[in-house]
Symmetry: C2
Subunit: 311 residues, 2 copies
């Protein structure tokens, strides 16, 4: 399936474990596919192998966003960047991450990838600012300040609103010249030679609805997040611990299943996906049920899971 | 199985692919188990996950030997060291590696593991010297200078010769006091009160034969290696390419299946294991047959393979 022909997002989960890897789950990484481009969020150890397994083409990744400088969220970066070089990549790769990762990344590249053929551009993200950190023609990405043991932010990806759709038959009926179509798609009315105004909503239909995805990990329960992710189609929120492990969640600056669901409920998101499961968890279904009791449209993350966001 | 009760070596292959990881093979890492201790050689990305899968206890690893500063041989180190900390390790971990890895490792630990509870001690290995780089009561480890694109050495693990075995019944017959037993186990004869000398070989039997393992990767064909690994029980030798890909092997400073077998034949080793397979290889059996034509006691490396060395 070639995504360029479909206006939707697809999120692939490459890893949804937490710091201590298990045989069940792998360190954090997810990939957003959108209009033929791939955006990666977090890149834990082994991400490049799971990416290969997923069938997603490594060379379509242009931007990687890292939430924070804990190894389970970024130890896969050097290997991924090296392999891109081995595969002959020449296109730039952009790394958006907290400042403290820059020296580590630079030194690692100097030691291992000094003869690479592709440029690695580091963009420091201020994890304390709710701000737009990237945009291109079709998407914008916002940093979501989180509350973890080290500077950390989530990311919100929101497709940009496209133009209104022209009702070509109506426009032709009013004999509107083609050179005005862009203005009409942008919302302009049409004034006929006799002075009659044809309102825009007669000439166009609404633009294709935009899709959005938010990735919120790692963090203590932070109600403010709900404001920032209001109405997103898919919210990934960490649920490292079950509801009854609230104290441990507080101590380790993580969230419980119920807390993740409360954010989803307050933000009225389309769907909630929970993950970043503690290595102690034997029964993820319990977490799912706890979350669904608050927010029914909840699913469990799993390695290889692909979630479509279509409208 | 608890190895302390057996005097043998066991080698577990955690990864035997080459630089570009495939769905078939993982980056390089092998573990030697000997008298209850684990020694790791190389630590490519994802090693900690495969170690967990192997059932070998991470906390029994005291020393890790790295052959060279290419990512597929060491990108798993930060994750492994981090996880040791998360599991509450307090024992030191020793890293023996080429000098150029020290800064990278130090910076990585400073960024990610500054609050770890265990000490990481770096020992620079001179990859140009055929020299002993480690010894304890039961084993010695030698560096084997190789010919790769970057400073690189293999490693030879040789069990230390234990004492001769006392023939207790004979010693008792000669009424030898217990305080002399250590000297006799070390090879001394026994002189009776009447001046008669009882030769040591009447009082003892030969010591348990020692086991040895050599790990030779990555390297161009280097005949001198055969001298250093002469008679080892198990030789792991890289065979990145099939025999007919000699030119590529030369260009990339790797060996072919036939070259690996020629080293094994010249060194008269007990068994040859070939690995570090190029991602281009679809048919490893061909490499096996090429090697076996020269050295029949050849096997193919594979993830999870455990090879016992017993005598």
């Amino acid at each position: 399936m070639h995504a360029e022909t479909f206006f939707f997002m697809q999120v692939t989960i490459l890893g949804c474990g937490s710091a201590n890897p298990t045989q069940r789950h792998q360190p954090a990484s997810q990939v957003l596919e959108m209009r033929g481009k791939l955006f990666m969020v977090d890149c834990g150890e082994g991400t490049q192998m799971r990416l290969a397994h997923s069938g997603l083409a490594m060379n379509r990744i242009g931007h990687i966003f890292i939430t924070h400088a804990h190894g389970d969220h970024c130890f896969g970066l050097p290997g991924l960047i090296s392999t891109m070089g081995l595969l002959g990549r020449t296109a730039q790769i952009h790394i958006h991450a907290p400042q403290e990762l820059e020296n580590y990344l630079q030194q690692t590249l100097d030691t291992f990838c000094h003869d690479r053929t592709h440029e690695v551009l580091f963009h420091a993200v201020d994890t304390q600012q709710h701000a737009r950190v990237y945009e291109d023609r079709s998407v914008e990405v916002w940093a979501l300040p989180l509350n973890h043991r080290t500077p950390c932010c989530g990311y919100l990806f929101r497709e940009k609103q496209g133009p209104r759709h022209l009702r070509r038959d109506i426009c032709d009926m009013y004999e509107i010249p083609i050179c005005y179509f862009d203005a009409i798609k942008a919302g302009a009315d049409w004034t006929q030679s006799d002075g009659t105004v044809i309102p825009n909503n007669r000439l166009t239909t609404d633009p294709t609805p935009v899709c959005s995805w938010a990735y919120v990990s790692d963090t203590r329960y932070k109600p403010q997040v709900a404001e920032w992710v209001r109405g997103v189609d898919l919210l990934f929120h960490e649920a490292t611990f079950p509801a009854d492990d609230l104290l441990r969640a507080r101590q380790t600056y993580h969230s419980t299943s119920e807390e993740a669901a409360r954010i989803a409920q307050a933000a009225q998101v389309g769907q909630l996906c929970i993950g970043h499961f503690s290595a102690r968890i034997r029964d993820e279904k319990a977490l799912l049920e706890q979350a669904q009791a608050i927010f029914p449209r909840t699913i469990l993350a799993d390695e290889g899971l692909q979630i479509d966001i279509a409208k």
